[in-house]
Amino acid sequence: MTEIKSHPVDGLLRTDRMPHIWCPGCGVGTSVNCFTRAIEKLEMDLDKLHVVSGIGCTGRVAGYINVDSFHTTHGRALAFATGLSLSRPDSKVVVYSGDGDIAAIGGNHLIHAARRNVDMTVICVNNYTYGMTGGQVTPTTPDKALASTTPFGNFEHTFNIPNLVAASGGTYVARWTVFHVRQLTRAMVSALKHPGFSFIEVLSPCPTLYMRRNKLGAAVNLMEYFKESAVIENGADTRTVALNEGKTVLGEFVNVRLPTLRESYEERMKEALGEKFVPYEGSK
């Protein structure tokens, strides 16, 4: 009989910090669960995987995954990760953050990191709200939904995040939900293998601050909604995947190979400087 660990992915977790801070039924945990499985599947060298987060409930992911990890400032994880990724050509840098972190305050870094096709994987847990600060409106809060800062219902149009990332230049763009654990894990595998800017939007329940306020019941209710409303359309035109009542388009929308920031830098410099060019290798 094999020795029983407390959990098969415990090796990838900072078990000394468990239980984690996420609420019962919070989808962030399930997404991390999928993430650890993707890492295992890829048999990644854990010395070459670095996780960077901003601030938020999702931002706490960096604190639970047992690789070199950074919990930076609200919205700026991508910029920190850009410096890290450029300096570590052999590593994979993963940014794990919430929708507010990435698409509200961090929006500029999102579009520019995507434009530059920086070699990194971004996992954005979209729970339709700012969890950490108590449930304020975000650029992804559905129309009319209640939030602490929209007590009479949200009135702002929302982002279609996959479309925004694709329009900015992201070369791998997918969306799944935490209900779709297998597909999400597979997408994470693809994203981690993808050279360049890969982005996965993960729809996820925040039972405590989004669902309760909107009287949506328990976390499983949203899981059920994800299941029922899911329409899987790989390669879908991202302009058509905005989240609408009753229909949740999921899949791998974009997957193209373009030179990464580093690749185009090196190509340019080689062309211009020839043998005088000395590539930046960071510190090894």
Partner: protein, 180 residues
Amino acid sequence: MSKVDIRICGMGGQGVIMSGLVIGKAASIYEDKWSTMLQSFGPEARGSTCAAQVMIDDVHIGYPYIDKADIFLVFSQAGYEKYIAELKEGAILVYEDELITLDERVPKGVKTCGIPATRIAQEQIGKVITFNMVMLGYFARATEAISLDALKKSIVDSVPHGTGEMNLKAFNAGYNYTAE
């Protein structure tokens, strides 16, 4: 008592803060005293224990944090364990006696008053959610820290529109409870 330090503790969702508000309002608005209330905040507080510190005094209150309480109103076992040591000599402990088991940690000289508030709320009001009002009623009688009248006005003022009567009924049930 001129200055009364009241700690309230329970689980998130048990109405800890609302109880603190009712007491604070009663004192400062309906008794023309001074009162402060502080509540626990932060991600760590989410879903787990939740606490409030209420101070009442005849004069303006300086330091608003409670070190040791005169009255400890406790709704959950975890809350009990967290704060039971921090009571003054001669303090009053008002607790939910079907959720909490007292033990040797209750400091000497503390008056303990237990009430099965959950059951009362369920059986007499039909809404467990009014549990904290039952607790408040019992607190009112056990401690006499604030006048009945002020507390009742404060309740009507604090609870959602249209639920005043139900909450007062729960309050009264607590007030009238006598341990067999």
